[in-house]
């Protein structure tokens, strides 16, 4: 075992403990504790956004700025890939 592997094992086990605890402590599957925001969206998205699909309503209207960010991430990745594979000589 190298030093690196030991450090990795410690890191890994700490994260593992944290994750397992968080999985066990989360609310039981299918019964979220709080649903106020989502229930509001379900009830009103058809009226306010005019979209039958509530998810689209969230993606493009309620959280539209996230979608702009998401589109920007894709744009960034494309620019990055083209930049990395460019010709190096003029």
């Amino acid at each position: 075992m190298s030093k690196r592997a030991i450090a990795g094992a410690i890191f890994f086990s700490i994260v593992a403990v944290f994750l397992v605890f968080s999985a066990l402590m989360t609310h039981s599957f299918g019964n979220p504790d709080e649903t106020e925001m989502d229930q509001y969206i379900i009830d009103n998205s058809q009226e306010e956004v005019g979209a039958d699909n509530s998810v689209t309503g969230v993606v493009f209207d309620y959280r539209g700025f996230d979608t702009l960010g998401e589109a920007t991430v894709l744009f960034t990745a494309v620019a990055g890939v083209i930049l990395i594979f460019r010709r190096l000589k003029k």
Binding site: G8, G30, N53, V55
Partner: protein, 119 residues
């Protein structure tokens, strides 16, 4: 406890991915590990959306005022997962193109053998 099995699956996915990233020395395997972590987190988000006996949050030919409105799952985690998937694709594309470049330079994918030639 038994109702938390989906979350246990999430943790298993994340941990497998983390194990791959921490202990494997192959660049492609590291990329796969990161993708696994990302799938785990996405799975976590989407499991948060589920409510027992719920349908997809789509109003098909009905409105909120009509009778027998179905019980719907939460829409926000769906949107978050969608965003997170696209971000994952972007990260994956960039990582793979860097791996291609590293392979061109060093002729190996092993992390330990990189950095041989100082420029």
């Amino acid at each position: 406890m038994i109702y938390n099995i989906p979350f246990i699956a999430v943790v298993a996915l994340v941990l497998i991915g983390l194990y791959t990233v921490v202990f494997k020395r192959n660049l492609i395997k590291i990329v796969i590990g990161i993708t696994l972590i990302e799938s785990g987190v996405n799975l976590f988000l989407i499991t948060l959306a589920y409510r027992q006996d719920s349908t997809a949050p789509i109003w098909h030919g009905i409105t909120a005022s009509s009778d027998n409105v179905p019980f719907m799952s939460l829409p926000v985690p769906h949107a978050l997962t969608l965003t997170s998937i696209v971000i994952g694709v972007a990260v994956l594309a960039l990582m793979l193109s860097l791996v291609i470049h590293i392979y061109r330079h060093y002729g190996t994918l092993n992390v330990n053998k990189l950095g041989g030639d100082e420029e």
